[in-house]
């Protein structure tokens, strides 16, 4: 697969895209501060996102009592689940070592 030409083109494309991302970060961080017009454009974009995108939808969902209780329950069982997962993982490791030994 790695020797296929179309895949090589894809790898080159994917790799260079990350260089573009770094360049975008550097240009934004080291460049001049945004002008008032740019700040307004950003704010307008954010308002648009709240009205027309999932940002607004998720905000309305937060007022959903059922969802709130679900999130509360999920948060409540998170820690015991992590502890159980760690114990299960340790058990698997110990059993694996014992079987190998």
């Amino acid at each position: 697969m790695m020797q296929k030409r179309w895949f090589k083109v894809f790898i080159w494309f994917a790799s260079t895209s990350f260089f573009f991302l770094v360049a975008a970060i550097l240009i934004s961080e080291l460049g001049p501060e945004p002008s008032e017009q740019q700040a307004m454009q950003f704010m307008m974009g954010m308002m648009d996102a709240m009205h027309n995108s999932m940002m607004g939808l998720s905000m309305s969902l937060e007022h959903d009592a059922g969802l709130k209780s679900l999130i509360g329950t999920a948060s409540y069982i998170l820690v015991p689940l992590i502890v159980l997962a760690v114990l299960f993982g340790l058990l698997v490791r110990v059993r694996g070592k014992r079987d190998a030994g």
């Binding site: 090589k8 945004p34 454009q41 950003f42 996102a49 940002m55 905000m59 694996g96």
Partner: protein
């Protein structure tokens, strides 16, 4: 031709992560808005949809690792995104932080501003660290970028001559 599972996950994850970074940067602040021409609505939509795929890919990867652990498979998966050491471990930890902080931002955006602000700070700064680490990762693995060699015509002639 058989393509390994870890290989597929690696490149799917690469595409998703690159697009997540692009859409995320556009929302990082007014000075980043130019990245997607201040189209925050599209960036937000793309970021949320891809975040779900990102979580799904990570979940599949973790499940795969758990199954391997239960079966006592010790063989290292060279292409896998998560693992016990090195860059795989770094990716695993940073991915979990991205997912947790992302979920906090998504859920608490309107109700708990201090939690959202803290999660946004971690999410943003971690992006810079991880993008820089990806450049290092590309540098270390740059042999993958070598173009496949063309069959050498003189070699073919030599081989034919010896026959």
């Amino acid at each position: 031709m058989s393509v390994r599972f870890d290989f597929i996950i690696h490149w799917l994850w690469t595409i998703v992560f690159a697009l997540l970074t692009l859409s995320g940067l556009a929302m990082a602040g007014a000075k980043y808005g130019w990245v997607l021409n201040y189209d925050i609505a599209s960036a937000d939509y793309v970021h949320r949809v891809l975040a779900a795929i990102y979580v799904l890919l990570t979940f599949i990867s973790i499940a795969y690792e758990v199954i391997r652990a239960v079966r006592y498979e010790e063989k290292k998966l060279g292409w896998f995104i998560i693992g016990k050491s090195g860059y795989q471990l770094f990716t695993f930890i940073t991915t979990l932080i991205f997912i947790i902080t992302g979920a906090i931002i998504w859920v608490c955006m309107d109700s708990n501003m201090s939690a959202t602000a803290f999660a946004l700070y971690i999410h943003e700064k971690l992006t810079y660290i991880v993008v820089a680490s990806v450049i290092w990762h590309i540098y270390v693995k740059c042999h993958a970028l070598l173009w496949p060699k063309k069959p050498n015509t003189t070699d073919k002639k030599n081989v034919a001559g010896t026959k």
